[in-house]
Homo-oligomer: 191 residues x 2
Amino acid sequence: MSDTRSQLKQIAIEQIRRRTLHAASFRELGKVAGIKSSSVHYHFENRDALLLELVKDYEQDFFIRLEQRCHELSDPGQQLQQLAALFLLSQQSQYQCLCLAFAAAGDETNDQQRAAVEQFLQRLETWISAVLARAADHADSAPQLARVILSALEGALLLDRDQPQAPRLNAVSQWLTTLIRSHSDQQPETL
Amino acid sequence: MSDTRSQLKQIAIEQIRRRTLHAASFRELGKVAGIKSSSVHYHFENRDALLLELVKDYEQDFFIRLEQRCHELSDPGQQLQQLAALFLLSQQSQYQCLCLAFAAAGDETNDQQRAAVEQFLQRLETWISAVLARAADHADSAPQLARVILSALEGALLLDRDQPQAPRLNAVSQWLTTLIRSHSDQQPETL
DNA sequence: GTCTATACTCAGATAGAC
DNA sequence: GTCTATCTGAGTATAGAC
């Protein structure tokens, strides 16, 4: 699977998530990988093609990890916490959400890339909504609440950039637990 | 107040909020204003100085508008709705939050600028928290809930970029009304 | 205040040698 | 696969003419 190629993709992801989309230039990728930018062009048709590939990979990887974590969990509240844990882990590693970085880049992305980002967001919204629907009597409001939760998680991750204590993301994570508690019957044991 | 200077600042704000921080280059500002980039340098020491000025202006303008809207409102629920309305208006005009654009720009900003952004965020958090504290019995959780609300509003605004229907931001706005309803005694009249 | 001219750097992309 | 060399265009910034 072409070692250099996948290495370049990994470097690109790091640049985007730790810095900005803009920072993932062919020159920079080459510099980090120890080759010239012209050699990077050998592995990818152009920059836009690479970026699109990254978004699609990201969606795959994200949901694989999410499902792995929720795999043997039946409680909706615990599943939501796993999602929050994924965001908290990301924050601790000083990683942004790749898709949010794309969203923030605005017209520096093309239509295909924007569509791929939107697909990721809607898939995650759908996932959250399905979890909520199983949690309580709020089956009607689940899609709406899912949008709020996604917005809060993504917003908090971005706002807590350079904030080691992650005050916003922790607040969101904590809020999620209270949300589920009021939606389901079970009592919390130890917090 | 130097017409050209304030015009350049206005153009810069538009570039950042409609596109990205990156799009607010001296060349671009000059092009839109009809002068050369070297002439832009006459009005601002350098780009970083301009950007810092913009963030400080933004904080001022934002809270002036917010206070104007809440001026003769005593109900906390209505005040929160005015905040949401500000975000919805922004979305309709296809404007991002300037501070979120800075946050997303990561290391393309300097320490001073990041500090100014963080100051804006904390001031808004404090404002929301104060409103919440007056709303109900949740005085303890007000600061935490304020962080969730701010994250949700900012996140939704960014996620709904290029989404004319603004599904996330509308969901957040609606969620805010239910929040207050359950926190206060009064019944909603007409939505 | 604005211009031209210039210096330097960075970006994407391609041609052709090895 | 990677290199050098090159083109084009964009960015910050400065010096000095008008």
